[in-house]
Symmetry: C2
Subunit: 327 residues, 2 copies
DNA sequence: AATGTGAATGAAATCGTTTACAACAATGTT
DNA sequence: AACATTGTTGTAAACGATTTCATTCACATT
């Protein structure tokens, strides 16, 4: 089904159909005929023809560190939801946690003439900075605040500060922190710094924070806990960089015979569903991951419509403290 | 930089350059000239032109019911992993659980000339059957066994039978089943039938199974449990269609003061991570979701290479019973 | 009545590639 | 020597969309 055939059915020229689709001056009568013809035939314009003629393609590249992760799934769902009502489709590149792949996708997607790229950020290195600068299509980064690029990110620092402040206010003043790879600015650095900021505000020494840097693997909770106890045997409050780590930590604590939260409070980030099942239920922070995806997609659509030369936009999203019973 | 310019530099016709790139008969002399011209100019053929001319595009459409779900994420990751080492990229369509969108994507992706489509199956209706038959590009369905289409699916029936058999063998002979929408053949029907098959093998009346059909929402566990108890107050074993439902059911049972598994055993499907945290730990069935994705992608690549006219292939994947302490 | 304005319209050119076709040369076969 | 066979080569016609250009027409302004 080509634009010619549709035009023939509607009794107009192919140019008129193109104008109908892309917005050009057209009488209401023809508009109606064309609408009917398109509905009748289920015509969709060929991406190939469009791309050849315009040099652009109605596809937006989405680069994610891995797909099989809850937060990534939420963001992607948000992007998909927003894009569904646009003319753009989403082409997905998963890096399988390999950092080089991220930059390769950035390259190959541009070579494939995508209209724009949404990148779920993880680590930030000089080669990232260079690749971002060199990017010839609009680029939106989610989940991280990188300098000089359009971003939609979470208030990891604020969330951590409030969470830790809450824990301190409840009397847990010997804090421990189980973190992840600090090359990830948002999850690795900001959350830890937020905790330390809360300590400072409470008149405590931020360097007194017992801490270990693990990985995103939940097992980090178990191994991390043992290291933490060695660092500070009197520790009575643990904040973990993710709920998965926190839940594993809780299990390990229980095995050691400690009561939660009386002997030691625990908290995490992400509002994982499993946190509603544990005993006690996990206090955590809810981030608006799906909204992050829709915001990023909206920003991208705006960039594509109004030209990419606008000043750098960096949107910070809020969070909600979810108080349950582990503090 | 177009094929014409390269041809001019090499002193040959554009056709010769095309033959050089795609493998046609060509003298060694011209071959060398063209090689030099291409290296000199850094020419790369335009995907748009190729696509338009050949009608094919190096993209594989993946249609999923929703992205933000663990099993979908796993399958998608498997597909992505396999595709990464091929020349194809993945274009993702998420249906947001809307069944019509599924068929719309099937349409629009074909209109966009994708090379093939991988569809994560959910419901199966006459309009699905028709759309599948009418599909002009290779189609692989995952997670469901539909007649007449290439499929990669799980042994839901066998898994349910073994799981229920296990429960019966441990003395839980008054069974209840909390299911989901039975328009989903795999999760809705096969799992329930497997349970009933096990009952029959144990000399029980399969119609004696107390059962309710809920939704994928975990809350189904709570509401379903109450209905089940009303149907059969002496019930001492519950099988749930998913782990999420099972975990909620366990919570509700505990609130009613029942001991698990002494008063009532519980089991689910999917090997959700949360099942390792609950008290008691959840007995479940592990399906190989990621493998399902890689197998489907491998099948697709094979179909694309060796022509789609091969007989219908339906690959059944295995499962592993994960015995923990809820039975 | 003459002129200017702007919207509506279709014909035709264009994008970069592949490939059917025909032409040709070089070789082997009778 | 005539003929078939094989392998190289270039020409030109697609593929399906967008967009420039020129034309028409209706209406408002002088």
């Amino acid at each position: 089904m080509t634009i010619r055939e549709v035009a023939a059915i509607a009794g107009v020229s192919p140019a008129a159909v193109s104008r109908y689709l892309n917005g050009g001056s057209l009488s209401e009568a023809k508009r109606a005929q064309i609408r009917r013809a398109i509905e009748e035939t289920g015509y969709h314009p060929s991406a190939a023809g469009q791309m050849l003629r315009t040099g652009r393609i109605n596809q937006i590249g989405v680069i994610v560190p891995q797909i099989n992760s809850e937060s990534v799934g939420e963001v992607t769902a948000g992007v998909a939801e927003k894009l569904a009502s646009s003319k753009y489709v989403m082409i997905l590149g998963s890096c399988a946690l390999n950092e080089e792949t991220e930059l390769e996708y950035l390259q190959s997607m541009q070579a494939n003439h995508v209209a724009g790229i949404i990148l779920m950020g993880t680590a930030y290195s000089p080669s990232h900075a260079e690749a971002f600068q060199r990017c010839r299509v609009p680029l939106v980064v989610t989940g991280q605040k990188f300098p000089g690029v359009h971003c939609v990110y979470h208030d990891d620092f604020g969330a951590a500060r409030e969470l830790a402040g809450h824990m301190i206010a409840r009397g847990h003043r010997h804090l421990g922190y189980i973190g992840v790879n600090e090359e990830d600015p948002a999850v690795g650095l900001e959350r830890r710094r937020g905790v330390q900021a809360a300590m400072e505000e409470a008149g405590m020494d931020p360097e007194g924070l017992a801490r270990v840097a693990g990985t995103f693997d939940p097992k980090t909770g178990e191994t991390g806990l043992l290291q933490l106890i060695r660092q500070d045997p009197s520790m009575n409050g643990i904040i973990c960089a993710t709920d998965k780590i926190a839940l594993t930590t809780m299990q390990a604590l229980k095995r050691l015979g400690r009561r939660i939260p009386e002997d030691c409070a625990v908290a995490g980030f992400d509002d994982n569903w499993a946190g509603t099942l544990s005993e006690p239920k996990l206090t955590t922070v809810h981030f608006y991951q799906k909204q992050c995806g829709t915001e990023a997609a909206a920003m991208m659509l705006d960039l594509l419509n109004n030209g990419a030369q606008t000043p750098v936009r960096q949107t910070k999203l809020g969070y909600t403290l979810v108080e349950r019973s582990s503090i």
